[in-house]
C-alpha cells in the first residue's frame, strides 16, 4: 500500500521561522490556488508528481484531481477535520431524527466499526441537510 502522506520529506521552506512549521492535511475540495505544498506528492509507485514548496496554481488543482489525489499537506493551515463540525444550519434534533430513520437500514451493520459509523453519520447529515424523508 502506498502511503497517504509523505512524512519523510521535510521540504525546506523559506520565509518561515526556524523550527516553526504549521502543516495541515487538506482535502482536495478545500484546496485553492496560491496554497503551498508542505510535502512531496507522490504517486503509488513513489514517482514524484509535485515537490514540496510548490505554490499550487489552478492547473495544479485540476492535475491533482486527475491523478486521483484526495488530500495533500499544506503549509500554514491546520488539518481540516470534516468530522467534528456540523454545518451551522443543521439542528441536533434534525440529525437525531435522521439517525432514527436510518436505524432499520443499518440494522445488520456493526456501527461500532469506524467505516459504518462514518457512513451512518454522513447518511444522517445528508438526510438532515437535504430534508430527505
Amino acid at each position: 500500500m502506498h502511503s497517504w502522506r509523505n512524512n519523510s520529506a521535510t521540504g525546506t521552506l523559506v520565509g518561515l521561522p526556524r523550527g516553526y512549521r504549521l502543516v495541515g492535511l487538506t482535502q482536495i475540495d478545500n484546496l485553492s490556488a496560491g496554497m503551498t505544498l508542505a510535502n512531496d506528492v507522490l504517486d503509488r509507485t513513489g514517482r514524484l508528481l509535485l515537490g514540496a514548496g510548490v505554490e499550487l496554481s489552478q492547473k495544479h488543482l485540476i492535475v491533482l484531481r486527475t491523478w486521483g489525489i484526495m488530500e495533500v499537506d499544506i503549509v500554514g493551515v491546520e488539518d481540516d477535520d470534516q468530522g467534528s463540525h456540523l454545518p451551522a444550519e443543521i439542528m441536533h434534533e434534525q440529525l437525531d431524527a435522521a439517525m432514527a430513520t436510518l436505524a432499520p437500514l443499518f440494522r445488520n451493520s456493526d456501527t461500532q466499526h469506524p467505516v459504518m459509523r462514518e457512513l451512518l453519520r454522513l447518511a444522517a447529515l445528508r438526510k438532515a441537510t437535504h430534508g430527505l424523508p
Partner: protein
Amino acid sequence: MASPEHAPITLERLVEQTRTIYSLPYFYERFNEAINHPRSSIADIAKIIIEDQGLTARILKLANSPMFGYHTKVDSITKAVTIIGTQQLRDLAFAASAMGVFKGIPEELMNMAFFWRHSIACGIIARNLATSLRESNVERFFVAGILHDVGQLIMCAAIPDTVGELLALSRSRQEQYHHTERDLLGFDHADLGGALLQAWKLPANIFEPVACHHAPRAAAQFPLEAAIVHLAEIICQAFEFGASGEWCVSPLEPAAWERLGMPVNILATILKQSEPQIGETFDILMEGQ
C-alpha cells in the same frame, strides 16, 4: 422449497437458461478478436464500435463527462481508442451496453430504474475509490460495479416466482437477501452473476469481484477489486442510491476495508465527488434504453 418452477434450481441450469435468452452485446466478441489479431489497426477496432450508433453516442458522452477527467476532448471513437486504450474502451463499451443486454425483466419484482441507479452508483463509487488508490485502468471497476448484482436480474427473468418468495422471506426474516438465497438455493446472486460473466468469457478481473462482492475474502485472484466493489455497494446502500433485492445495508467485511488502507475521512470526499456523477451517468446510460 416448494417451488412452482419444475426442475431443481441449480446455478448451472440458470446460467444455461440465461445464455439462451440473453447474449453478450454484439460488438464484444468481435472487439476481442480485433484486439487479439496482430494485424488490426486502430481504425479496424474503432469500426466495430462505430457500427452501433447508440453505443457510440453513449461512449462519447461518458468519455467527455467530467468524472472521466480525460484532458483532450474525445470527439471520435478512433480518438477514444488511442486516448482511453483498447481494453479500457472495451470495458467502458460493455458498461454502456449492460442495460440493453438485460431487458424485459418483470418490473413487479424489481423496479428497473432503481436497480440500474444502484448498479451505476456502485460502478461510479468503485471507480472513484480505485482512482483515490491511484489504481490505473479504472474502467474495470466501473463495469464490475455496474454488473455486480446482475445475478438478481437473471433470477428475476428465469425463476420469477421463486424470487418473489425469496424477497418476501428475506424481509420477514429480517436477514440479508443473499443469505436467504444461499439458504434456500445453495448459492446467491453474486455466485450466479459471476458464473454467467465467466461463461461469457469476460476477464477474471471483472467476474471475480462480481462473484465475491458479498464475500471479498473469497477472491483468490483479484482481492483488491473485490474489496472495492464490496465497499462501493455498502456505500450505495447507506446513501440509498437506487435499490436492489437487498433491503438493508450489507455487513462490511473489516478485512476488506483494511486491505484498502484508506483513511475513514476519505468517505466524505468520495460521497461529495460521486453524487453529482451518479445522476449524470444514469441519464447518459438510460437514454434510449
